[in-house]
Assembly symmetry: C2
Homo-oligomer: 381 residues x 2
């Protein structure tokens, strides 16, 4: 009887949600930007499971997952860092760590969460368990393009000074390596899935700049120096997201700045291999996980449309209109389906990526970013 | 009170294990080949959580995971297909589907589980939910090298006839495409992580054979036609595993058959780019997920040793002896740690892949294959 009595107490302390056994490999969170909430979704059931509220200003929010796919760390525009427990469906912890944040990353061992800030500039690093401050790295600049790299490292770039810093936490206190001359006003960056190549997009000059993080002393490598907003004739409605760069079999696909096209770049030589004309100014160009297709969405006012490009022929093979304000796409881990957020229709729509058939619509309040838990297992996401 | 009473009944039906909320992203199973059991492990805690018994003959066993990272499908040598629930830590279902099985795969949507058989030959496909037979594909041959490919497809090869078949389940009943002239006695195969290239190893002649699954009509492509067991002078103690092929940044690493070396092959041209001399006949050559290192174990009698090769310099940078009969290695999803099964020491040993420091030893009964749940999100694993 003693065992049973203890059991009852344990049961009373649980929410209904966690009385059921839960596996987390096929779950995800959708940012509801207007409400300051996240919607917990199940990929296999193509369903919303719960709404978790109270996350502050989620315009331009992003998040990363703990290695066990239980906790999400949500980076809000207002500097809020919120730890969400997707098993109990509750906020586990929340700190407001700065006045204006721009994104974050989690170390490869899952123990450190880093946030990059506009105001004040710099990077702050937190204990993933407690959200206590572990390191404060002032940079004297707005700080952008923060990513994780293998070996408890974070890499980030400075808008004002054109530097990229590598912060190595392998031995406790961070060792900082500073690379200068990355170019004028880097505005975003990405790291390749293998953690080798870091690439910044430049706002202040043409082209992009890459770093080979496997080199003993990484040096800036200019990419497409003759291409960019310098030759721009059209207004830029929205700077494309570099997270949206697709890596197909052997090429990157880069949303062109301002132009109605995507650029193809050889992943080894970092030289241009082709261009594909598109419906509008691309925002995200995302590769299906097998790299065979690239899905592209567009800036306002052409943001009701998706185009699908075949990565072998580089031709548009499918075009459709999910609805007004298509903001983000997320593929299932093995690419058989894609979820698309349609902000102004207040829904997320699920499609089969082989037949292009619409499979389900799920109600969501002004949805923007969609983040599936499989990101926990990947570098730079 | 009614609600509480129902709660008590629900609680009584649960095992202690699943009274706690569970996230499954950092779990794994270790095959205990002698006992016919699997050991449930937690990567973050570096600990064994539970032993699940009654899986039959697990010599040469492997397994795949459901997309939610809750169920493992274990393929036993005796033809047993066992569905293990890692949340409740119980066998959920088990069928003996043939007399002698050699491996299996799960479709990209997680709905179909396929098993390839020696006796009788052929492939049987089961409903992942119920384990009911969905399709029986006789091949008139021992069937090997079964992998999943994007679009509800399975690819497998015939030892006796030298054919590779693609079974496409996109529209319900399988459509079979047969490719002949793959070479004499294919004995194993792999598919690249993007699902594009399928490569068979040949026992009956030199070299290997590749297929480009993105081609409209895939044709056999000969790889290293002048290399293989035909020029063999040493006895082959164990045929290397092709699952053990590593893909580094731009190269495959292939355990040479019989020789004390690994071969490097350009991933695009499929031509040889180098060789690295090793301690013994390699069995598995596995890339750390970032591709920067390749870890190699060896055939009897040199199977107490691991060598680590740098994929840029192609030089051995570290060598150590975890203990007698090192059978398998599994990296954490982002590569910061590796788990190594040491069968004859009855333990699994965990190492930091950057410092090479030993972090933990975990008791296990004759451990062989180690399978982390992150495999659920990848093609061909």
């Amino acid at each position: 009887m003693k065992q049973l009595a203890l059991g009852i107490v344990a049961l009373m302390m649980m929410t209904p949600a966690n009385a059921d056994p839960t596996a987390t490999g096929d779950l995800g969170l959708v940012i509801e930007r207007a409400k300051g909430s996240v919607l917990l979704v199940d990929q296999s059931d193509r369903a919303a499971l719960a709404r978790i509220e109270g996350l502050g200003d989620l315009s331009h929010a992003s998040l990363v997952y703990s290695p066990d796919e239980r906790f999400a760390y949500v980076f809000g525009r207002d500097g809020g860092l919120t730890k969400v427990d997707i098993v109990t469906r509750q906020i586990a912890n929340r700190v407001v760590q700065a006045g204006n944040a721009i994104g974050g990353a989690i170390s490869d061992d899952g123990q450190l969460v880093a946030v990059s800030n506009y105001e004040p500039g710099g990077v702050r690093v937190f204990d993933a368990d407690t959200l206590e401050l572990v390191a404060d790295i002032p940079t004297d600049s707005k700080t952008i393009g923060l990513v994780d790299a293998p070996g408890r490292r974070f890499v980030f770039s400075m808008w004002d000074t054109g530097e990229t810093w590598i912060a190595d936490f392998a031995n406790g206190a961070p060792e900082i390596t500073k690379i200068t001359d990355m170019g004028k006003n880097p505005y975003d960056a990405l790291i390749t899935a293998n953690g080798r190549t870091y690439i910044t997009g430049l706002f202040g000059e043409d082209g992009l700049t890459a770093l080979d993080l496997w080199a003993d002393n990484p040096k800036p490598i200019r990419v497409l120096p003759g291409y960019g907003r310098g030759q721009e004739e059209m207004p830029v409605y929205k700077m494309p997201h570099l997270e949206g760069w697709a890596l197909t079999d052997r090429e990157f696909v880069l949303p062109a700045v301002g132009h109605h096209e995507v650029l193809w770049i050889d992943a080894e030589t970092l030289t241009e291999t082709g261009r594909t004309q598109t419906h509008g100014q691309p925002v995200f160009a995302m590769a299906r996980p097998d790299g065979r297709q690239v899905w592209v969405n567009f800036a306002h006012p052409l943001n009701d449309t998706i185009q699908v490009i075949d990565s072998v022929s580089k031709q548009v093979i499918h075009e459709f209109s999910p609805g007004p304000a298509v903001l983000h796409m997320e593929f299932t881990a093995r690419g058989h389906e894609v979820w698309i957020s349609v902000r102004d229709a207040n829904k997320v729509v699920v499609y089969d990526t082989h037949s292009f058939e619409k499979l389900r619509e799920i109600a969501a309040d002004s949805p923007s970013g969609i983040f599936f838990t499989a990101r926990a297992h990947r570098t730079g996401l």
